[in-house]
Assembly symmetry: D2
Homo-oligomer: 347 residues x 4
């Protein structure tokens, strides 16, 4: 029987990432959720905002308070970009570990970060020390990290799609094409016209086709793997569904005689949350909904020198909240899969 319960907190838990963290942490066997802050909703019972938690979580949103947060072993930031960087240094100084689900600590190149997020960084020194929280890439460093930058959803799906191909130098790294599709929840819980049901339902469109802020994050991750700069075209699309994300990634093969299926199966054999589907498979987003799984299918068309990899995740889970819990497990020395054993609800 596990004894020690770690204390954790959430800063900014009223968005979609927040409510998913709440669900996962409420049922996690080894942690106790002590505090969840929200300036706008302080005093409101969490279960009043999210009735799915009625009877399961008896907690109210509170004003952010340094001492309460510092009393936690680990704090998640699910705040708008630019917020965490102001609060994190103080918490880290108190030996509280931090996972930021926003983008404040993801990009090592601060000038690129400032270009995309239109902000000046408040603590560049912590950007350097932050570990990019993709366990399949940086597991050991995450376990040691005091500050983890939780990856974006698109970067997670795309990087896991390319990882074995790039690592093995099998494709031309200069001409990568990632065509990605996301459910609407990626756009968040703030009311916006283009995410109304009547605007997004029964409709399909690309967005950010001339440039998206996840592009530099993906390139940084792919470059780490390739051991040098990569060239990438990345086009995101909006799918009329709530959750789920697929990246269809294309790479020009340098040799034609590689067994891609075997390559992927070998690379991911020990990964608890990456499932290489049988040859010829087309993974479906619904099979990972509400879970931390990434499922991958590998294809090549007759006579073609292009590898095609289909990579699906739940954008709010492996692309956000459950990957944060996976990182927490690593940081706290818990079993990596603790609290992450949900099976997707089908249909």
């Amino acid at each position: 029987m596990r004894v020690a319960m770690y204390k954790v907190g959430i800063v900014g838990g009223t968005g979609y990432t927040g409510v998913e963290l709440l669900r996962l942490l409420t049922r996690h066997p080894d942690v106790s959720l002590e505090v969840i802050t929200s300036r706008g909703n302080a005093g409101t019972a969490v279960a009043d905002m999210f009735p799915s938690l009625r009877g399961r979580l008896d907690l109210r949103f509170s004003e952010p308070d340094r001492d309460t947060l510092a009393a936690c072993d680990l704090v998640f930031f699910a705040t708008p970009n630019g917020t965490a960087m102001k609060l994190v240094p103080d918490l880290l100084a108190s030996n509280t570990r931090v996972i930021d689900l926003g983008a404040d600590f993801r990009l090592k190149d601060l000038s690129v970060w400032s270009d995309w997020y239109k902000l000046e960084h408040a603590c560049p020194e912590w950007v350097e020390q932050a570990v990019y929280g993709l366990p399949e890439l940086n597991r050991a460093a995450i376990a040691e990290a005091r500050l983890v930058a939780n990856p974006g959803c698109y970067p997670t799906a795309v990087i896991l799609g390319y990882l074995p191909l790039l690592e093995s130098q099998l494709i031309d790294p200069e001409h990568l094409i990632a065509d990605a599709k996301s459910g609407v929840s990626g756009a968040g819980r703030q009311p916006q016209q283009h995410t109304l049901l009547c605007e997004a339902n029964d409709n399909f469109k690309a967005y950010g086709a001339s440039g998206h802020r996840h592009l530099p994050e993906i390139k940084q991750g792919l470059s780490q793997i390739a051991g040098g700069e990569v060239g990438l075209v990345f086009v995101p699309h909006l799918v009329p569904m709530t959750r789920g994300m697929q990246a269809t990634v294309y790479g020009r093969l340098r040799t034609s005689d590689t067994d891609l299926q075997a390559l992927y199966e070998r690379r991911y054999a020990d990964e608890p949350f990456v499932d290489v589907m049988p040859a010829g498979s087309h993974p479906e987003t619904r099979t990972v909904r509400g879970t931390n799984m990434c499922r991958v299918g590998v294809h090549r068309q007759p006579g073609s020198d292009t590898a095609i990899v289909l990579s699906v995740i739940d954008n709010l889970d492996k692309g956000a909240a459950s990957q944060a819990v996976q990182n927490m497990n690593l940081m706290l020395g818990l079993p990596e899969t603790a609290g992450l054993d949900d099976i997707a609800v089908l249909p």
Copy 2:
């Protein structure tokens, strides 16, 4: 630590009720799923048909075999109507307990049953002994039962909606109106034209408005509560969504000074799976998706003598699979909530 693992089996597990049972039993702490049968898919790995179970359930569909099933402590039947009644008596004779998720043992009046299901019953003696598996109504009898008839989805939602009102004799039992709405999964996994996405999506319609086979089942349940015949109009509708069901039930009040909210809160105070929402609430089906919860809202309009109760469940869970697990827990003497602690995935 719980020690004894009960052995359970499923007959006919390839429909939507079946895959949901698989998900729940795979993660249940006190039972071990020993066998799942399917004539048409014997030999197929369960996870090949339902990729959500990849890596979680290492079992193949098998031909129905009496001895294998009889070795189980309890067997679920998730078969088409008319199948269970042929196989159940033999199993019961071996001291294996049975929960039938179909309609074979729900109606005590066999002539009514034959009228609606167009079959002659194969074991009338077991119909008499079967307990109707609505724990909120028959908890004690379920715990003792050898054979439980798991309720239909509409009956569950409607009966839980009316229960406190009828039990307390507060409404006219002769003129009940239940207007019910269901997601498409209630129609099953067999390909049919009207349940194609292109037919059901962005569309709304009633069906069975001149009579539906759940009507006699609901009337039987309500009559048990009212202590006499009831008059009921029941109209089901098809909602363009996968899961979820709402019954909006109407009852003419005999007195105008009752506190309906208090009545419902009192009646369901100790029920682990019925949640009476605060006064003025409108429960949403998504807050119970993938769970065993029924959420209820109680309303009256100014100057009106009609009580309005909104009752929502997941048609595949409290309306089928998870209610069957709740019944199993009662029958095996396990905690009633064991394996039923999922929180709905929101959004």
Copy 3:
């Protein structure tokens, strides 16, 4: 060949009712759309906001201007409640006829109106003169009217459902129950949290169950038909789809030997936009999408004394924009069906 083109204008055309009016008027054979106003979007090309109109409508939103509007033969108001009442009297004084798609002129009882809309009325004298624009009820008066109050969507569906039953005195008018279901577009194009795709998709719920502002409007219409006060319970629900509305209405029959099917067929035989489906039918909302049709199905359950009528419309068309065009046709002496010959796009 029709010669005279009537000049029409729209005040406030950026909502869902507005864009639907734009579509219908752009293709109408007998009118010319001269002006469309929007304070917030003056100067913007209509086709930039609604790309479906690219190449079809070469018009920009303009500031509301009295003279431009007064030069029109007829002006539609598709403005928030409380706006039309301030501008309409001046226009009417210039002999421009007006159709208000909002609620400013629907309720004859101004105290009830003030209770629900939380406003004091700016021109009570015009409320009296306004004609309630339900052609099936008030055709002759509409043709003569200078000011038409276009009905709400729920009132249209419910009143057309009850009309033959109430008119013929066949049901108890004291205990009417109307259970209505609407697509999300009824909530408008303004960003709101509960109409986001991620909140409304794959979800079902009631709203306004303790009282909705369409209740007094429906009662007023039904009372006109019944020739006296009616008692009505009205519960609206939100369906996860963009367009479409169904009212399922219930009435206790006073006699049991009436042929309801014949009653409905006879009453609506000459109505171009009400289609009584064959006996036993369940009309589907998608069959009226984008059209001015109301389809009706009539049911009674064995042994029951309750009439059940299923009435479906497109909430933005027969429930708003196309009904306004039907009223315009009547007011201008055009064929009632002019410009209203769309066939629903299936699937």
Copy 4:
């Protein structure tokens, strides 16, 4: 006033392409729909199968009859692949012109056709004479054709996306990548498990990633434009919506100083059904729903040598039925846009 009404017929009109043809031809000003055949539904009123046509089309499905069809000026085949090739030669011999919406006459290379469709061709001589019915490519030939092979939906979207780039030799034709996304209606009206609402809803997946039968058709079209063989990777995906298709096509530019936006605007300036959106636009499928429009957006990412073109159509219209009507208009010498002036119903 147009006088002569051309007589047209449909063979096999019970699928989604069929009902859309019915809608378009019912309202077409210059043709009269004389006959619609269906072996399985002969005798059934069309409006009983498709209630959207109630009161609008008074026709019954009939057995295919050579003489009735031969009395038509033009006949559409909306039959399963392999059917048209058996009936068409006889009709053509009677001077009836034919548009085949299936794939029987699309591929000039019969061995490739046989590989993909698993059939031997019944009339190879007519394959040679058939004109590929993409007006933007073959307008003059279509006008003269006796037999038109109406393009597939994916080929239409992809070819219109690449046309200006390939024609102008601006991209490397050896490494084309077309990532396409389709609504579910492309899979037809026959009940299949994977197109059930409960399987396809709130889900996203690729299919045919290792090879799809539209691949050779697209390559044939692109090769005609490029004036030589092209290399193409084509991956289709299934979007949880009824109608709509987007092709996101990628091409490596040979020079970096071309104004792609101007190129597209120039090439499509006179095309009535191709709309090049303003620079930076992301066309949405809903803006073309129920219409014959193709909308195109052109993008390039900073520092990238890859052209990105977004091409959206309605898969059942410009991808099938309305494109067939456009071809019919050309073949009969009618205005090319006759009967094709619908505006998409928004929202």
